[in-house]
Amino acid sequence: MPRIQVKQPFFANTTYFKYLQLTPAMSRYELLSPEGLRIDGRRWNELRRISAQMSTQSAADGSSYLEQGNTKIICTVTGPAEKGSGGAGGEGDASVVFEVNYAAFSGTERKKRGRGDKRVAEMQSALQRTFGSVILTHLFPRSEIVITLHILSQDGSVLATCINATTLALIDAGIPLYDYVTACTAGSSSTYMPGEENADPMLDLNAIEEGDLPCLTLATVGGGERIALCNMENKVQLSRLEGIIAVAVGGCTELRVVLDGVVRKWGTEVLRRRGESERVGGKGDT
């Protein structure tokens, strides 16, 4: 059994390195082990475990519950319905309104977010503009589609999971879309160490990785290369950007396949239940 040579960074003999090893904070050096495993055991291009359910809330027109790793989100869709007090006549196409609620217990520390939180407002606006151009709004003039998202647990990729949950809920509500909108995050794992120039970008970041790495959230329409949303708030070298985007696009394509499978499975289930209820209802077979 050959001894695995752990690559030492160039400052290995300094006190700073010993300090890094003693501090509990994750340094970039530990986010990707020498064997290529991340802190949760995934490889660089693996998505987290996805668990999705549709029609979880019977009161809403459409609903979904999506778990990506430990990020858990409930999405409910109401509409298309008449605009509340939207003024006379309305403005033509349907309007899409998003409401995002972070549960106070969703983060590591309990934090109740105020009404006017700018980050939440920005998120709502981004979601609205993304889905505004994917939903066939011209079919429902002067009406309103209200989408509410409840974030129950945050473990990175919150915006991406919101988008995926919304897609499922909209499909459940029967609202026509041009195609699936899937989103995921990617980050650059290149560190300051020499020789790491071509380190692979990491796909689907969790909270710890998001805090440490420059992270990009990307949403594509139809699993292809058409980017509907692209958000990055950290600094990254322009040369690395292309790699990160390519990895994120690949992740979105994979996610579309997964979500499509969920929708088809649920559709089959709905048909089966309807078939059963018809038989039980006494229609009988002829």
């Binding site: 979601l127 503009r129 993304t130 980017i227 509907a228 950007l241």
Partner: protein, 299 residues
């Protein structure tokens, strides 16, 4: 009070038809930034940026306060951007519209989150006293590209600003006046510049730096912030029409060229302003007659 009037159908058709032929209403190329004009005020920290007809003023000021309890070693840096009726009759004071929130968030991500200022250098006495630097952006004229113009204005104002020098003796902190000791510039780590791209016709046409008319007609937009070292500070494409990934990369590379040019222009203007001040101060020193009488009053 009134909503911004939407462009008429004729205007819309004209602009889109021209774009399909590769022409813009103001005669620019599709990937051409408007001419940037930066001028500085008398006092330190005032920058006036003109981007075509868009005009933005940024004012930086600093005062000594207590730092945040969870960050005792850092100073405070805040940027306020409030759209008012002076920029356009469509904006109202006090009403926080979606556009205003997005603008504020973009500027914050571009400048604050990307650590343009070294906040640790603003600390005076850890946990007790620190500088609170505040940048106020006033929009004087709205002709599109408010984000781009305000980013340049804030960065220019920050680079131009000089804070009073401080000396710490144990617990006592002495803030020297501007005449007592030469004021100190802020520690700026990099100069982020925002570039906004607008998409038309399903992503087929990409424009850089849209005027107000183009902004009203666009189907999607993306703002990339870079600095001249080639670091992307933030990307914000929040919905709108979907674009291809190659287009995104092309925009990023185009933005880098523009950012380098603008940064160069900014440095040049700062140097010119500095030279002007030195000349003016030297001239003041040269005439000593009246000064002698005034100085004896202070001693």
């Amino acid at each position: 009070m009134p909503r911004e009037p939407e462009p008429s159908n004729n205007e819309k058709a004209f602009v889109l038809e021209a774009l399909q032929q590769g022409l813009r209403v103001d005669g620019r190329q599709l990937d051409e930034f408007r001419k940037v004009d930066i001028s500085f005020g008398e006092e330190f920290g005032l920058a006036d940026v003109k981007l075509g007809r868009t005009r933005v003023i940024a004012r930086v000021s600093a005062e000594v306060t207590k730092p945040y309890p969870d960050r005792p070693f850092e100073g405070i840096f805040s940027i306020t951007t409030e759209l008012g009726p002076m920029a356009s009759p469509a904006f109202e004071v006090g009403r926080s519209t979606e556009q205003e929130v997005l603008l504020a968030r973009l500027i914050e991500k571009a400048i604050r989150r990307s650590n343009a200022i070294d906040q640790e250098s603003l600390c005076i006495v850890a946990g007790q006293k620190c500088w609170s630097v505040r940048a106020d952006v006033h929009f004087l004229d709205h002709d599109g590209a408010l984000v781009d113009a305000s980013c340049i204005a804030v960065v220019a104002a920050l680079a131009h600003f000089r804070r009073p020098d401080v000396s710490v003796q144990g617990e006592k902190v002495i803030i020297h006046t501007l005449t007592e000791r030469v004021p100190v510039p802020l520690s700026i780590l990099h100069h982020p510049i925002c570039v906004t791209f607008s998409f038309f016709l399903g992503g087929a046409i990409v424009l850089m730096d849209a005027t107000l008319q183009e902004e009203q007609l666009r189907e999607g937009d993306m703002t990339i912030t870079l600095n001249k070292h080639g670091e992307v500070c933030q990307i914000s494409k929040a919905g709108g029409t979907a674009i291809e990934a190659v287009v995104l990369m092309r925009c990023a590379n185009q933005a880098l060229l523009v950012v380098c040019q603008v940064t160069e222009l900014l440095m040049k203007k700062l140097e010119e302003d500095q030279a002007k001040r030195v000349r003016r101060d030297n001239l003041l020193e040269a005439s000593a007659e009246n000064d002698r009488k005034m100085r004896s009053e202070f001693v």
